[in-house]
Amino acid sequence: MEVHEQLEALFRDVFDDENLALSDETTARDIPKWDSLAHINLMFSIEQAFGVRFKGNELAEMKNIGELKQFLVSKGRG
């Protein structure tokens, strides 16, 4: 599966929304349920699903999809 599709599936799980669609421009502001608590859950779920590990400050700042995808590709997960 493409990293985009995989991420989208994960977002659907985490936000419990089967119709959620992602684009590279999507950010936390575009998804109403993406608050600070959901962000922590999301980042942890991404780590588990893709077998990657964010640095502490990356955990805090990774709030748009394009960046996330770049990060995953750079770790060889894309």
Binding site: V14, F44, K55, G56, L59
Partner: protein, 664 residues
């Protein structure tokens, strides 16, 4: 834990993909059988979720709920747990299985939102529907100390103190460690006391997972004044102070079990004040739910064991005594270790039973002749070896022991038997045993259903009592008339008012007795203490012994005087002494005390519940007359003036146990 999974991984992935495609094209009904076929043992969490969602799409909410809850048994996978928790929340209450209800106040020193959600899910799996109230971040002391806080307005059944080591007020080094420890322990015990004084809640304390980043290094382990040693001392002291009044979740052990490097993830602490790494929150939730379950009396009582390849390696009927693996070699030693662990469970009060597909003679052979057997025939209350289906045999075992199917835990190396049990006897808990016997012990030790809230003499003697019961069943069929049978038991009872020593056992009995329980009122210890102080209240417990065993504290009654009428608020009896005329003995003492209070009649009420149909005629059997029925509730009355006290000639009431010769 990879070793827990059984094969089929490769084709299960293919099946899942195919099923996903079917579901996408709208054929949910066709996808489900493929998902089911892809299941491993224990089930994969992601697959449980897919099944839950598929059933939800089909509108079969009760199956959807069952599969969402199965995630708890599957893996401690945070993402799946979150999704499952949300699914279950969404389902209407009536679709969920019948559950005990409990209000839980979650008071934390760190961010506990995720723990709260997962605690609800884990509790739901244990048959408890909990309503969680979370304290404001880090406000646990304020909430407890302020009598007008939300905490007390919520009126919780449980107060869970979810706290972490960073919150301990201990210096990195103390020159007066005993004093430092004492002050910190006193802070916690004062909080416990305040909760108990101001509410009916039971405190569940998370103890402190001690971190491994220790500046003094190995030296810290011999410096009583190091924070490292003081934190461990606080844990030990809190355990001593807790006694039977407070429950502890041993977080230090849990963090050691998974590894401290996993338990503590500093990134999440710095970012979001998560003191417990998210990946272990499901485990912490499971254990906290198990402790709450034990406090509610939901522990399981009996471990049902297969024999071949479960207690020894190989098949006794084929390999013979000399051929089975037991004692020698890696597997042989593993089976011995497993047996020894089971023996320890028995010593703490778990009843053991055998359920094996074997000829009875073959099954008995190792017990009679093999020198390395740690478990003996007498360790088992019931021994069933035949060729009937196991779900059928396990029903028989439950009946013979007089306990519910929901009190059983089943261990079998054969995944087919485990699956049969899940399908045909879903109330039974099935332990997912791995293929390698070296890991049997660990799999069993991770089964949390044998958690108990207190350790009473009754618990220690229970296995003996159940074995005695099975013997009595034999005697019953041999004895002539039922009167002769009762006489032959030489039953004696002590009937006395509640006292402090027996209160924990009384509360335990009130919490867990479902069948012979006339009103199913779950009074907690504070309520019981107020009964004891009330001069208009008659409160009696009954201990029973016979020539086979001391059955311990098995029945109790609480009644309140209303003028000349004595109204019975609570009357219950442990199932293991049903059919022994004990009912009449406790009533005999109630009658005598009612007369002393000047009462002329007794009034009893039967409130039907899911499980107490067996007690419907209890009042009729001891001589009460039907007085009325309203909304299923039945009222009974006993005219003390006209009929005189109830008498039971089969049980001798004594003040204390006399020493008898030739008991069992």
């Amino acid at each position: 834990m990879a070793e827990r999974f059984i094969a089929r991984v490769s084709d299960s992935a293919a099946l899942m993909t195919r099923a996903d495609e079917l579901r996408k094209s709208g054929k949910v009904g066709d996808a489900i059988p493929l998902y089911l076929e892809a299941l491993s043992d224990p089930p994969q969490a992601a697959l449980c979720l897919k099944l839950a969602r598929s059933y939800e799409e089909l509108g079969n909410i009760s199956e959807a709920c069952r599969w969402a809850l199965a995630v708890v048994d599957a893996e401690d996978d945070f993402t799946s747990w979150q999704a499952a928790a949300r699914l279950v929340q969404r389902f209407p209450l009536e679709a969920r299985p019948k559950q005990r209800i409990a209000k839980v106040a979650l008071l934390g020193s760190y961010t506990t939102t995720q723990l709260g959600q997962m605690l609800s899910l884990a509790a739901s799996r244990r048959g408890i529907r909990i309503e969680v109230q979370e304290s404001q971040y880090g406000q646990y002391e304020q909430d407890i100390i302020d009598p007008n806080s939300r905490l007390y307005a919520f009126d919780p059944d449980f107060v869970v103190l979810a706290v972490h080591e960073g919150d301990l007020r201990l210096p990195e080094y103390s020159s007066a460690p005993q004093e430092s420890i004492g002050v910190e322990v006193a802070r916690w015990t004062a909080l416990w006391r305040t909760v108990r004084e101001r509410s009916r809640a039971r405190v569940v304390q998370h103890n402190f997972a001690v971190p491994c980043d220790v500046p003094a290094g190995h030296l810290a382990a011999r410096l009583p004044g190091s924070r490292y040693m003081m934190a461990q001392a606080v844990n030990a002291r809190l355990g001593e102070e807790a006694g039977s009044a407070v429950s502890i979740v041993d977080c230090d052990r849990l963090s050691s079990f998974v590894g401290k490097a996993r338990w503590f993830d500093p990134r999440f602490w710095h970012l979001a004040k998560q003191a417990v790494a998210l990946e272990v929150v499901p485990m912490l939730a499971r254990h906290t739910a198990a402790v709450i379950g034990a406090d509610l009396g939901l522990s399981r009582k009996c471990l049902v064991l297969d024999l071949d390849n479960t207690l020894w390696g190989g098949v006794i009927a084929e390999d013979g005594l000399a051929g089975i693996k037991l004692g020698d070699g890696v597997d042989g030693e593993a089976f011995v270790a497993f047996q020894e662990y089971i023996l320890k469970l028995k010593q703490k009060g778990v009843i053991l039973a055998v359920c094996s597909k074997n000829n009875h003679g073959d099954a008995m052979l190792p017990f009679e002749k093999h020198p390395e057997m740690r478990l003996k025939r007498d360790d088992f209350a019931v021994f069933v070896a035949n060729w009937e289906p196991k779900p059928q045999n396990i029903r028989r075992i439950a009946q013979e022991l007089g306990i519910g199917m929901d009190a059983l835990v089943f261990v079998d190396d054969n995944p087919v038997e485990r699956e049969a049990m899940r399908q045909f006897a879903p109330e039974v808990e099935v332990v997912p045993i791995p293929e390698d016997p070296s890991y049997y012990l660990r799999a069993l030790s991770q089964c949390l259903s044998f958690e108990t809230s207190s350790y009473t003499q009754e618990d220690a003697a229970r296995a003996e009592q159940y074995r005695a019961r099975a013997k009595i069943r034999e005697l019953e069929s041999a004895a002539g008339s039922i009167e002769e049978f009762y006489q032959s038991l030489h039953m004696q009872a002590i009937v006395a008012p509640f006292d402090a020593v027996n209160l924990p056992r009384i509360a335990q009995l009130i919490g867990k007795t479902n069948q012979f329980n006339l009103t199913t009122k779950r009074h907690g210890i504070p309520q019981l203490e107020s009964f004891v102080k009330d001069p208009r209240c008659i409160h009696l417990y009954l201990r029973l012994r016979d020539r086979f065993a001391d059955h311990g504290l098995v029945a109790l009654i609480i009644a309140l005087q209303e003028g000349t009428v004595l109204d019975i608020d609570t009357w219950l009896m442990s199932c293991r002494v049903i059919g022994r005329t004990v009912e009449a003995t406790i009533m005999e003492q109630v009658c005598r005390r009612a007369q002393e209070l000047g009462c002329t009649s007794l009034r009893g009420t039967y409130i039907p519940s899911e499980k107490n149909a067996m007690a419907e005629e209890a009042y009729a059997k001891v001589g009460f007359d039907l007085a009325g029925r309203v909304d299923g509730q039945v009222t009974w009355t006993y005219d003390l003036l006209a009929k005189g006290p109830i008498v039971n000639r089969f049980v001798e009431t004594v003040d204390a146990w006399e020493v008898k010769d030739g008991g069992a």
